[in-house]
């Protein structure tokens, strides 16, 4: 696979854009071409939110992901909206703390992770998305795994050292999930 199309989706406030940015920076550090495109809507808080990330060995054409290789679904409306858009052979990562339905497709790989619950239990509120990003890294093997920790340090300002620590821990949990 020379191009990876990822769609991250959920409610505003779940860190969807942040998760996408971490993924994008991983691509940058890995020397790939990449693009990050948020959906932007009038809802500033709590509305639906999604983010397209394309990582590729080639120059990127459309940055809008309409047929994701990987879907990260952080709530039920997002899963319902995008489940059939995922390409056959693709992958879906579901935050099962937030989604009470199952994927009814047998041509995609599906992982159910209790991400929000695990994050809450570990006092790392808002890190659920990073747990799922960690899990994605483990499963796709597209990117060099060493870069993700560096990416977190790039995305979070150095002055927020505590947040960096939490997110590194979240990645670790994801990588082992």
């Amino acid at each position: 696979m020379s191009t990876l199309n990822v769609l991250l989706a959920g409610f505003g406030g779940q860190g969807i854009l942040f998760g996408g940015k971490t993924l994008a920076y991983s691509g940058l550090l890995d020397g790939k071409n990449l693009s990050w495109l948020p959906s932007y809507g009038p809802e500033m808080r709590g509305g639906t939110c999604n983010c397209s990330v394309v990582i590729s060995d080639d120059p990127i054409g459309s940055p809008l992901v309409t047929a994701p290789d990987v879907l990260v679904a952080m709530n039920r409306p997002s899963l319902e909206k995008f489940v059939n858009a995922v390409v056959p052979g693709g992958m879906i990562l579901v935050d099962s703390s937030m989604v009470d339905i199952k994927v009814e497709r047998d041509d995609v790989k599906v992982f159910y992770i209790d991400a929000t619950k695990i994050a809450d239990e570990n006092n790392m509120k808002s890190c659920a998305i990073i747990i799922l990003v960690g899990k994605m890294f483990k499963e796709i093997g597209f990117l060099n795994k060493d870069v993700i920790n560096d990416a977190v340090k790039k995305v979070i300002p150095a002055k927020k050292a505590a947040m960096i620590e939490l997110n590194l821990k979240a990645i670790e949990i994801g990588l082992n999930a």
Binding site: K21, A24, Y25, L28, N33, L34, S35, W36, L37, P38, Y40, G41, P42, P59, I60, G61, S62, P63, L64, T66, K154
Partner: protein, 355 residues
């Protein structure tokens, strides 16, 4: 600065302007360009000793740009479609006063309040009539975040050289998306000589007047004709376009900005299917790169314009092709970005290889 950084298009535009010595920004909030203003408000006053001013309206903002550029400094404003309509009065005065200025349009769907999703439906406005009267802007259409950076200095340089306003015609997709970018080494204050500037004559030179009012028709006509001589030079010297896989192409997709990215993907997929497709990507929308179109007309079987509007640039392509070949159009509008699959399908139809 060699290191690549991830930046949103809007922020990259703003940083590029600062790097070009723009220390005077005047704007008004509107989605999806607001990051330009937010970035400027953070950087300009504190870190650059410059001016960020949130005006009372787009109308005021463009006139503040007129004032600042009259004083001889590099100034800019940014907005999105409905806001650009409001600025059109000031843009016409800037054009009629022979002033350089940088205007950014991060387009959204129209008309009216329209939507807030990406669009290219201001092509006509930017290239034909951004305000009343006979005048033109130098219009650049970036397709990557790196070009958002690179075209800022080009817009300033060409604008100052010919004394015309310049526009970067972006869109909500390019404004909101992030890609890695690299900034060129920072330049010092612009060196362009501006003997026309109204910055106080200091009793050392004759007074300067910046003006667009000429009551005598003959005088006004002569001035406009002089301006059109400069436009002719711009047309001759400043056309820019990219050709992608055009050497042996038979079907030429013509697309700019966001839709050119989608079209590039579609052209590559068409090639994989054995269809000889190529992409002509206008970089300057005014002057329209007719030389690049012209040199491909003979070998073309057909042209296909792909735009995020109901068909605006297609007229300019037809003017060059002038009936010698068919020019087809495919567009999505209202804020929808066409998919590579849709464009590929159009290419197949034109190639007679519809599945």
């Amino acid at each position: 600065m060699a290191e690549k950084v991830l930046m949103k298009g809007n922020e990259a535009l703003a940083e590029a302007a600062i790097q070009c010595g723009c220390k005077h920004y005047f704007g008004y909030p509107i989605t999806p360009q607001t990051e330009v203003a937010a970035y400027m408000s953070k950087r300009l006053p504190k870190e650059e000793g410059g001016v960020f001013l949130q005006a009372e309206s787009e109308v005021a903002a463009i006139n503040m740009v007129l004032g600042a550029t009259s004083a001889g400094v590099r100034a800019m404003t940014s907005s999105s479609s409905p806001g650009i309509s409001l600025k059109s009065e000031g843009v016409s005065y800037i054009g009629g006063s022979d002033l350089p200025a940088l205007i950014i349009n991060v387009q959204r769907g129209g008309p009216g309040l329209g939507g807030i999703q990406p669009s290219q439906s201001d092509y006509w406005q930017a290239t034909k009539a951004l305000g009343h009267g006979d005048f033109q802007l130098f219009v650049l259409a970036p397709s990557t975040i790196q070009e958002m950076v690179d075209f800022v200095s080009l817009a300033y340089e060409v604008g100052e050289k010919y004394r015309v306003p310049a526009m970067i015609l972006s869109d909500g997709m390019l404004g909101q998306m992030m890609e890695p970018v690299e900034f060129p080494t920072k330049k010092d204050e612009p060196v362009a000589d501006k003997p026309w500037a109204t910055n106080g004559h200091q009793n050392k030179r004759k007074k300067n007047i910046i003006n667009s009012l000429y009551i005598q028709p003959e005088e006004l006509e002569n001035l406009i004709k002089e301006r059109y001589e400069r436009y002719a030079k711009i047309k001759e010297n400043e056309q820019r376009a990219e050709e992608f896989m055009c050497d042996d192409a038979e079907i030429f997709v013509v697309a700019f900005g966001a839709s050119s990215r989608v079209s590039r993907s579609a052209v590559m997929q068409a090639r994989a299917e054995g269809i000889k497709a190529g992409l002509i990507r206008p970089i300057t929308l005014w002057p329209f790169p007719d030389k690049t179109i012209e040199k491909n007309v003979d070998k073309a079987k057909k042209f296909l314009c792909v735009e995020m509007n109901m068909g605006q640039m297609v007229d300019d392509v037809k003017l060059v092709v002038n009936g010698r070949k068919e020019v087809e159009f495919f567009g999505r509008t209202g804020g929808i970005i066409p998919t590579p699959a849709e464009v590929l399908n159009e290419i197949r139809k034109i190639a007679g290889k519809e599945n």
